[in-house]
């Protein structure tokens, strides 16, 4: 038998086996919502690469999906919302843009349990003016993406900008392209293999080393500082207050391992004129950490944590009397 025929036989056998594994994964994930695969599904079903290279990626307008047990609906502006926002806004309405990543988006929590919705309800209870807190959160956004998201939504005429910062917002995202992207988007084998290989490769690594290493990179710090300054400039030019909210990493709150990073973040924010800095660590550390997680494998903010964050922001807004 010719060697070429034997090789063809081996190739067909491998393809059949891979097809069976793919089928098994698709069937298995119908019954078990693994966090990493659900995050991949979020990217595949609700996100796309943006034509704006600086924005990087964005929500697909008008899409909806059930992810990690929760429905997420995206409006025509690419915002997680169950409504549209008028332009120009109605008379008397106060708008707040809340920018951030998947924590702001409200990954793992229902729409009404997200920080923007809870904050909106608190403000509408206290003040006579109608408030709309607009959720610009998109999973895996960093400061540079959030800057572009804010720029793209200034036509909503905000009266305040809240920038929710999380420790990995300084990270640089590498975007896929070409045939590799097609494969990554269409096969469950990809997130399964990627997730397992990352875990295998990083068996000795934990979140402390990884996040700390990001802040040792001068290039990443420089990009973060420039992005932050530009956001502050936008707020100042529009004469609208900016609140920078530092959401702590939730693995270990009591003996927080990132105090040095927090000092750097605080110093950077306070070097900007008119920027307000709100550190949420003191508010959240009173709670046992697992009380705040979406699940044992997922350290996103759960319903309780979103409420605590919204309450802290609301208190700061009230104390500073931004709105009367």
């Amino acid at each position: 038998m010719k060697t070429a025929t034997k090789i063809l036989l081996a190739a067909v056998s491998a393809l059949v086996m891979l097809a069976l594994i793919e089928a098994g994964l698709r069937l298995g994930y119908r019954f078990y919502a693994d966090y990493n695969t659900e995050m991949w599904r979020y990217a595949v079903e609700l996100k796309r690469l943006s034509a704006n290279g600086k924005l990087g990626h964005e929500h697909v307008p008008g899409r909806a999906a059930s992810l990690y047990g929760v429905d997420i609906r995206i409006n025509s502006r690419g915002i997680r919302a169950d409504r549209e926002y008028e332009i120009p806004k109605a008379a008397g309405i106060k708008r707040i843009l809340m920018a951030g990543d998947s924590l702001t988006l409200g990954w793992g929590v229902r729409h009404e349990d997200t920080c923007p919705r809870i904050l909106e309800a608190m403000l509408n209870e206290k003040y006579p003016a109608g408030f709309e807190v607009i959720n610009l959160g998109v999973g895996n956004y960093g400061t540079e993406n959030e800057l572009e998201a804010i720029k793209n939504n200034m036509e909503l005429q905000p009266d305040m900008i809240i920038l929710n910062f999380y420790i990995n917002d300084i990270e640089e995202i590498r975007y896929p392209s070409g045939p590799a992207y097609w494969f990554q988007k269409n096969f469950y084998i990809y997130p399964f293999g990627y997730d397992r290989l990352v875990k295998l490769k990083n068996r000795g690594l934990d979140y402390r080393e990884y996040y700390s290493s990001l802040y040792k990179d001068a290039r990443l710090r420089d990009r973060f500082e420039k992005g932050l300054k530009e956001i502050a400039d936008i707020a100042r030019c529009g004469r609208i207050p900016l609140i920078f909210v530092n959401i702590p990493e939730l693995h270990e709150l009591e003996n927080y391992p990132f105090n040095d990073i927090n000092k750097y973040i605080e110093k950077t924010v306070l070097s900007l004129p008119d920027a307000e800095y709100l550190d949420l660590l003191p508010f959240l550390k009173k709670n046992p950490k697992h009380d705040l997680w979406v699940s044992p494998e997922d350290v996103h903010l759960n319903k309780k944590a979103n409420k605590l964050v919204a309450r802290a922001i609301f208190n700061r807004i009230s104390e500073n009397e931004y709105f009367k």
Binding site: K6, Q184, G193, R196
Partner: protein
Amino acid sequence: MKNIREFIKQNKWWWLTPIIVLSVLLAVLLLLGGDAAKLPFIYAMF
């Protein structure tokens, strides 16, 4: 059909090997993944 059966029987290692290799790889990936709770946010896609 008889010829095909003979062909497959005589060249079994050519089609069994990919199945064995992929099965072992699958088992390694399933069993040796790290503790998800200690890892940072690292996503398969943006």
